[in-house]
C-alpha cells in the first residue's frame, strides 16, 4: 500500500553492514569443524534469539556438516538464514487501514524503547504516502514528553492533540479521536507513556485508553503495537507476554537496529506469541523507519548479501 516504500527496498543496508562486519570471521571461507561450531553457537547467542532458535540453527548446521565434511562458513550461514526465514514465515505484516477512518494505532512499550520517535516517524511515512495523520500525546507522565511529541509535530507539520503533563491520558486519547474524526484524518497515532510491564496500575491506564477509544469506535484501536528496543535481551519476551496478556497486542516494531544489536528477541516473541513485525527502526531521523522483511532480516543477521 505504501508506494513510497519502494524507496526503502534496500532498507536494511545499514544493518547488514554492521552485522556483516561482526559475523565475517565466523562465516568466512573456512570449513566448519567442532571448534568453529562452538564459536558459532556462542555467536548465535549474541543475537538474543533465545535457546530454541539457537538450538534449531545449530542442529541443522551440524547435520549438514556431518553430511559434508567440507561445509564452508558461507554455506553454514546460508543454512542459518534459511532456518531463521522458516521460523519467521508469516511474521511480516503491512499496515492496513480500518474500514472506517480514522485507523487507530497505539504505541506501547517499556521506558525509553522508542515509542515517541516511532509515532513521529510513522506519521511522516504515512504523510509521504498521501495519508492524513493526527498525533495524540498520551504520555502525560514523563517530564517534557508532551513537548517532545509536539516538537516532532511541528517539525513534520502533523496535527497533534496534546494536553499538559499530569493530564488524564485517556481523556487526551478521546479528544484526539474526536479531532481526527472531525478533520477526516485517515490515521490516529497514539503515543503512550513508557511503562514497565510489572506495574499493574500503569497497565490499567492503558486499558482505560482502550475503553475510551472504544466509546468513539468499538473497533478501535485497530493496531496496538509493542515498541521493542532491539538492544534489550531476554526480558523483551517477558514484556511482550505481559503486555499481550493484559492489553492484547497486534504486532511489533523493533527499534535501534542501526546499532550492532540484532534484536533477536523478536524471533522468540514471534514464535511464542505469533505477533507479526510491522516495522524496524534504523535511526533517529523520520525516514529511518522501514517495513520488516524476514528475508532481509535473516540475511542481515548472517551477514549474507541482500
Amino acid at each position: 500500500m505504501f508506494g513510497l516504500f519502494k524507496k526503502f527496498k534496500d532498507g536494511l543496508a545499514k544493518t547488514v553492514a554492521a552485522i556483516t562486519e561482526k559475523t565475517h570471521g565466523l562465516f568466512g571461507g573456512r570449513t566448519i569443524d567442532a571448534s568453529s561450531l562452538e564459536t558459532l553457537e556462542e555467536a548465535l547467542f549474541t543475537a538474543d534469539f533465545g535457546v530454541a532458535t539457537t538450538g534449531e540453527i545449530l542442529t541443522e548446521i551440524k547435520a549438514a556438516s556431518r553430511k559434508d565434511k567440507e561445509l564452508r562458513g558461507q554455506e553454514a550461514a546460508a543454512i542459518g538464514a534459511a532456518v531463521l526465514r522458516r521460523v519467521l514465515t508469516g511474521s511480516e505484516r503491512a499496515l492496513t487501514a480500518a474500514p472506517t477512518a480514522p485507523t487507530v494505532i497505539v504505541m506501547i512499550g517499556v521506558n525509553g524503547s522508542g515509542k515517541t520517535t516511532t509515532s513521529a516517524k510513522l506519521g511522516w511515512l504515512l504523510k509521504q504516502d498521501g495519508k492524513s495523520v493526527m498525533l495524540a500525546a498520551c504520555d502525560t507522565f514523563r517530564a517534557a514528553a508532551v513537548e517532545q511529541l509536539k516538537s516532532w509535530a511541528t517539525r513534520l507539520d502533523l496535527p497533534i492533540v496534546a494536553s499538559h503533563t499530569g493530564a488524564d491520558a485517556a481523556a487526551v486519547a478521546f479528544d484526539a479521536w474526536q479531532a481526527a474524526k472531525a478533520r477526516g484524518c485517515d490515521y490516529l497515532i497514539v503515543d503512550t507513556a513508557g511503562r514497565l510491564h510489572t506495574k499493574g496500575h500503569l497497565m490499567d491506564e492503558l486499558a482505560k485508553i482502550r475503553r475510551v477509544l472504544q466509546k468513539n469506535d468499538p473497533t478501535a484501536p485497530h493496531h496496538a503495537w509493542l515498541v521493542v528496543d532491539g538492544s534489550l535481551g531476554t526480558n523483551s519476551i517477558e514484556q511482550a507476554r505481559v503486555f499481550h496478556k493484559s492489553f492484547g497486542l497486534t504486532g511489533l516494531v523493533v527499534t535501534k537496529l542501526d546499532g550492532t544489536s540484532r534484536g533477536g528477541a523478536i524471533v522468540g516473541i514471534w514464535r511464542e506469541l505469533g505477533l507479526p513485525i510491522y516495522f524496524l527502526g534504523l535511526g533517529e531521523q523520520p525516514e529511518d523507519l522501514q517495513p520488516f522483511s524476514a528475508e532481509n532480516y535473516a540475511k542481515a543477521v548472517f551477514g549474507l548479501e541482500t
Partner: protein
C-alpha cells in the same frame, strides 16, 4: 528461579552423594545448568563461560559437605563469586570539589532521569548540585532536564540555540561555578557506540570539561549487546563507573556482569523507578541474588530505613509483634509507606512478588484509605469496635467515599488483625495463604 536453579543443580548432582570430592567430570552437567542460567539472565556468553570456568576451578577438589546438598554448596560458591566480581571497586564518588560528573550511554537508557536522581542524592548529601543539558538532539531533551531540575531545586544550564556541545558544556561549567555549585552534572544525548561522529563529540566534551566521574548509564534489561557498548564507551571516555537503570522491572540484570567484566569499572548506582527518589547505591549481593533469581529484599529494607523514621518503625514493629495495632497506627504506617516510592517498586523487591500486579489504582486506594481514617475521631481510630452504622455514614461523608468503602476497610482491618494474631502464634504459613486470598481483592497496600 533460584529454587529452580537449585533444583536443577541438585538433580544434575544427584549421583554425587556417595562421591567424596567435586571434580570436573562429576560437575559437568551442573555447570552447564549454571551457564544456561547466566545466559538466560543476559550475561554475555564469553563472560558466562569465563565465569563458569572460574567457579569450576574453585569447586574442583572440594569435599562434598554432608550437611548441605552439593547443589546448595555450588550455589553458594557461585553466589559468592558473583558478589565478589560485581562488588569490585568502590561505589563512592570522587571526593573532588567541585565534583564534575559526565553521564553517557545509549538512547533511552535513563541518562536524563539519572542526572536528576544523582543531583537529588548529592543535594541530600550536602552538595549544591547543578545540571547542564548537553543533549541538543532529542526533541525537548533540554525541557525534560529543566523541568526535573526545577522540581528538585537544582541549578540548571541549557542553550536552545547552539549545537556546539563542547562549548555548551564549557559555558554550563562556567555558569555552575559562578553560581557557587560544587556538584556539576552533565546530561548528554543518547548515542550508539558505533556512531563515530557522536562518539567524537562526547570525547571532545569530556576533554573540555575534565570530569572527575564519567558514568555509563545502562538499561538493566540490556542484552548481549552490553559488551560492545561498554567496550566502546570505555575506550572513548575512560569510564569511572556505571549506573544500572530500570531495575524496578523484572529483568535479571546480567548485563551488569558483562559490563563489569569488560570495563572493570565499579557499578555505583541503580535506578529503581521513574520517580526521582527511586535511586539507590549499588549493593553487589542484591544484584547477585537477582541474577540468580532470588529477589531483592535487602534493597527494600534499605529504602525503608532511609525514608522511615527509625524510632517510629521500631515502635510499629513492636506493636505488630504484639498484635496491638489500631487504625491510628495504620494511618501512620500508610504515611510512612508513601515515602518509599511507588507501590510497584516496593512489590518488585519482594521475592516472588515482582510479577504480581497491584490491585486497581493501588495508590489512589491508599489515598482514600487515608481519607477515611482521617475522618474518624481519635477514639474511633483507637477502638474501631465502636464504629456503628451512624458513625460509618458520618465518616463516609467526611472522606467523600461510599459507606461500602468504609465497611470494606473495616473488614480488611479485622482480617489484618487476625493475621497478626496468627503471626504472633507462629502461623506464618497460614498467613501466607490468607494473603494469597486477599491479593487482587484490594487488600492492604503496603502490607
Amino acid at each position: 528461579m533460584f529454587e529452580s536453579l537449585t533444583d536443577k543443580l541438585s538433580s544434575a548432582l544427584r549421583n554425587l552423594r556417595g562421591v567424596g570430592k567435586l571434580s570436573e567430570d562429576n560437575m559437568a552437567d551442573a555447570l552447564k545448568e549454571v551457564r544456561t542460567a547466566l545466559l538466560s539472565a543476559d550475561v554475555h556468553f564469553k563472560v558466562a563461560r569465563e565465569f563458569v570456568e572460574r567457579v569450576q576451578a574453585q569447586c574442583v577438589g572440594q569435599e562434598v559437605i554432608k550437611s548441605v546438598t552439593p547443589g546448595q554448596q555450588i550455589i553458594k560458591i557461585i553466589h559468592d563469586e558473583l558478589v565478589r566480581l560485581l562488588g569490585e571497586g568502590t561505589t563512592d564518588l570522587s571526593p573532588a570539589r567541585p565534583l564534575k560528573v559526565l553521564m553517557a550511554g545509549l538512547h533511552g537508557s535513563g541518562k536524563t532521569t539519572s542526572t536528576a536522581k544523582l543531583g537529588r542524592l548529592l543535594k541530600k548529601r550536602g552538595y549544591r548540585p547543578f545540571v547542564i543539558a548537553c543533549d541538543v538532539y532529542r526533541p525537548a531533551a533540554i525541557d525534560q532536564l529543566e523541568i526535573l531540575a526545577k522540581q528538585e531545586e537544582l541549578g540548571f544550564y541549557g542553550d536552545r540555540v547552539s549545537k556546539d556541545v563542547p562549548a555548551i558544556g564549557a559555558a554550563g561549567l562556567a555558569a555552575a561555578q559562578a553560581a557557587g555549585a560544587d556538584a556539576i552534572l552533565f546530561d548528554t544525548a543518547g548515542r550508539l557506540q558505533i556512531d563515530a561522529d557522536l562518539i567524537e563529540e562526547v570525547k571532545k566534551l569530556r576533554a573540555r570539561i575534565q570530569p572527575d566521574e564519567v558514568l555509563l548509564v545502562a538499561d538493566g534489561a540490556l542484552g548481549q549487546e552490553a559488551v560492545n557498548v561498554a567496550k566502546a564507551f570505555h575506550d572513548a571516555l575512560q569510564l569511572t563507573g556505571l549506573i544500572l537503570t530500570k531495575l524496578d522491572g523484572d529483568a535479571r540484570g546480567g548485563a551488569a556482569l558483562s559490563i563489569k567484566s569488560i570495563t572493570g569499572v565499579p557499578i555505583k548506582f541503580v535506578g529503581t523507578g521513574e520517580k526521582v527518589a527511586d535511586f539507590d547505591t549499588f549493593y553487589p549481593d542484591r544484584l547477585a541474588s537477582r541474577i540468580l533469581g532470588m529477589g531483592d529484599v535487602v534493597s527494600l529494607v534499605e529504602r525503608a530505613q532511609e525514608n522511615i523514621d527509625q524510632k517510629e518503625a521500631e515502635k510499629m514493629a513492636e506493636k505488630l509483634r504484639k498484635a496491638d495495632f489500631n487504625l491510628e497506627d495504620f494511618l501512620a504506617q500508610l504515611q510512612q509507606v508513601k515515602k518509599l516510592g511507588s507501590m510497584q517498586s516496593i512489590m518488585g523487591m519482594m521475592p516472588g512478588m515482582s510479577g504480581v500486579a497491584l490491585p486497581d489504582d493501588a495508590e489512589k486506594q491508599m489515598a482514600r484509605t487515608e481519607a477515611i481514617i482521617k475522618s474518624m475521631t481519635l477514639q474511633e481510630r483507637r477502638k474501631p469496635d465502636v464504629l456503628n452504622g451512624n458513625r460509618r455514614l458520618r465518616i463516609a461523608n467526611g472522606a467523600g467515599v461510599k459507606v461500602l468503602e468504609v465497611n470494606q476497610l473495616m473488614k480488611q482491618f479485622q482480617q489484618m488483625q487476625k493475621m497478626m494474631k496468627m503471626l504472633k502464634g507462629g502461623g506464618a504459613k497460614k498467613m501466607m495463604r490468607q494473603m494469597e486470598g486477599m491479593k487482587g481483592k484490594g487488600g492492604f497496600p503496603g502490607f
